[in-house]
């Protein structure tokens, strides 16, 4: 049996109101790091809060560690949660914040002191125990919030967009930190984000949500390379999603399905036609060049169709704006979608 399960979970705020969660079922194994990802308003935070026990569900069941938790309060579910706005207690120091959960459980004072010190060291804030939240940076506050959530040894760790309010460099560091701590304690973790890159980087499994339903689930690799719908293809990655007519213009071939998905890295660029081995070839003009550090992104105009191509940075092979070239790809590398 899976460690966490949601069975036919539906959430509505009123009887005739819209369904925030529409008959959702999911399973999560012990120790997995899963991400609920989707655009704003898709229901990912609502689902997380329902699992936490902070929101009721209209129908369905929620199981945590083989126990039916549907009617249990948040305090009874033994979950740990980190919120987007950190939500540290402003009147308590970092150490007091971290120790709070253990104090509520009436743990021995000496054990509390020791565990608090240990946890602050794990999140690399050993010297910040006496600081108040207002004296800490955003990244530090989030680490305190994480330590506070983990110290009570929760069954599940829930993270509701914890890195949204943090700048890019610190966010990258915290992504690694969260993953490191999750692996260290082997805590089953559910992470909510609207950032698909963050989801891909951090997760063992992704649940892609749209309008209250789970559109697709799978490993990051699978969800990226095998999207099942137009929404999945456009949300995850920077895919080129072409309708039948556009695909025909680009490849010279026809499709029976509604859409063809071309990932940016499956399209190869050539100066001369003679070198090409792929079966689908089209002439194109470079409209824009964006250097992303280790990769270069080319925006091409290919017989009136815009194509987005990503290649590894190479000083010897670069194309300029306005330059004509050949874009080629293998038909078997494409994904074809009915919807």
């Amino acid at each position: 049996m899976s460690f966490i399960a949601a069975e036919n979970v539906t959430k509505q705020y009123s009887v005739n109101g819209p369904k925030i969660l529409d008959n959702i079922s999911l399973t999560i194994d012990k120790g997995e790091f899963v991400t609920l990802v989707g655009s704003s308003g898709c229901g990912k935070t609502t689902l997380l809060r329902c699992i936490a026990g902070l929101n009721d569900i209209s129908s369905g069941k929620i199981y945590i560690d083989a126990k039916d938790c549907t009617t249990l309060t948040a305090g009874e579910r033994n979950v740990g949660m980190v919120f987007q706005q950190y939500s540290l207690f402003p009147n308590m120091t970092a150490a007091q914040n971290v120790a709070f959960g253990l104090r509520m459980q009436h743990v021995d004072k000496n054990i509390i002191r020791e565990k608090t010190r240990e946890m602050l060291d794990i999140v690399q804030l050993g010297d910040k125990g006496d600081s108040y939240p207002s004296q800490l940076s955003g990244g530090q506050q989030q680490r305190v919030a994480l330590a506070r959530a983990i110290i009570t040894e929760p069954t599940v760790l829930l993270l509701d967009e914890p890195l949204s309010a943090i700048d890019a460099k610190v966010r990258k560091m915290l992504q690694e930190e969260i993953r490191r701590i999750q692996r260290k304690f082997n805590i089953t973790t559910i992470f909510v984000t609207h950032d698909q890159h963050e989801a891909m980087v951090m997760s063992d499994k992704i649940f892609l949500m749209d309008r209250g339903i789970i559109e697709q689930e799978g490993s990051p690799d699978h969800v990226y390379t095998h999207p099942v719908s137009f929404f999945a293809a456009t949300f995850i990655g920077d895919n080129n999603v072409l309708d039948a007519a556009s695909f025909a213009a680009v490849s010279g071939g026809n499709i029976l399905e509604k859409y063809a998905v071309l990932r940016p890295e499956i399209i190869h660029l050539y100066k001369e036609r003679g070198d090409i081995q792929e079966d689908c070839v089209a002439k194109a003009v470079v409209e824009d060049v964006i250097i992303n550090g280790t990769t270069i992104r080319y925006l091409l105009n290919c017989s009136g169709v815009s194509l987005n191509v990503s290649v590894l940075y190479s000083a010897s092979l670069q194309f300029r704006i306005g330059e004509e070239l050949y874009a080629a790809f293998r038909r078997e590398d494409c994904v074809f979608l009915e919807r």
Binding site: A52, L54, T73, A74, G75, V79, G80, M81, F83, Q85, S87, F89, P90, N91, M92, T93, Q96, F100, G101, M104, Q105, D130, Y132, R148, A149, T152
Partner: protein, 268 residues
Amino acid sequence: MKNRKRNWFAYLFVTLLLVFLLMPIIAISLYSISKSWTTQILPEEFTFDYYGELFSMPDFFLAIVRSIGISLLSVGLCIGILLLALYVVLVYKPGWEKMLSITVTIPYAISGVILATSLLSLYAGGPWPLSNRLVMLTFAYCIVILPYVYQGIRNSLYAVNVHQLLEVAEILHCKKLRAFFTIIVPNIFSGITISALLAIAIVFGDFVLVKTIAGTSFFTLQYYLFNAMLKSGTRGGAVVFVAFLITLSIAFLAFNLQEKGSKHRAQL
């Protein structure tokens, strides 16, 4: 150059404001120690006899104790009731907040005399403790200070992310009521302190309610002042200045305690 001009203007403005605010207190303190003050800018002769007279009367100290006691009791009661009411509204019935806001402003529209006579006619013949004048007076004061205390506390609550803090506390196995009083209330303590001081000043300075409801059975400082004014203005001035010093001391103590509380929490 521009900054110096702006600073000069700021200093001048603050000085004038301080003079404006302190002038009545300085004037009353001078008046209270003047033996005669007729046509000159300053008193012709000074004396501390009136203060000597005041501090030699046990009634005076009793009046002070009664005033402080009833102020603290009614303010404490009002704050306690309001905090519990706000807890219920914020946690369980958020839709009731508007109704609560409207209800607590009703006392603004009720004058002291109407309140006092209405309470007397309603409860005077009733069972104890409702008919007890001191109990009636205490709760009358609670009603009068209700809007002031509510506004101060409610404004402080807006600055705190109440719901999310309560949710975090709940997840960390803390009961909601305990979370409200151990996490939320300490974070709005400055708002509570300021509301309490304002309310204490209102209760401390009241004469209408105490005269109408309690009469001479509960002799407060304001009643003492009324009687002193009948004898002479300088005696009244002395009582006013002492009342000012008491209110100032209460405010100083309150802010000092608030400061110590913050430092104590830092040391834990």
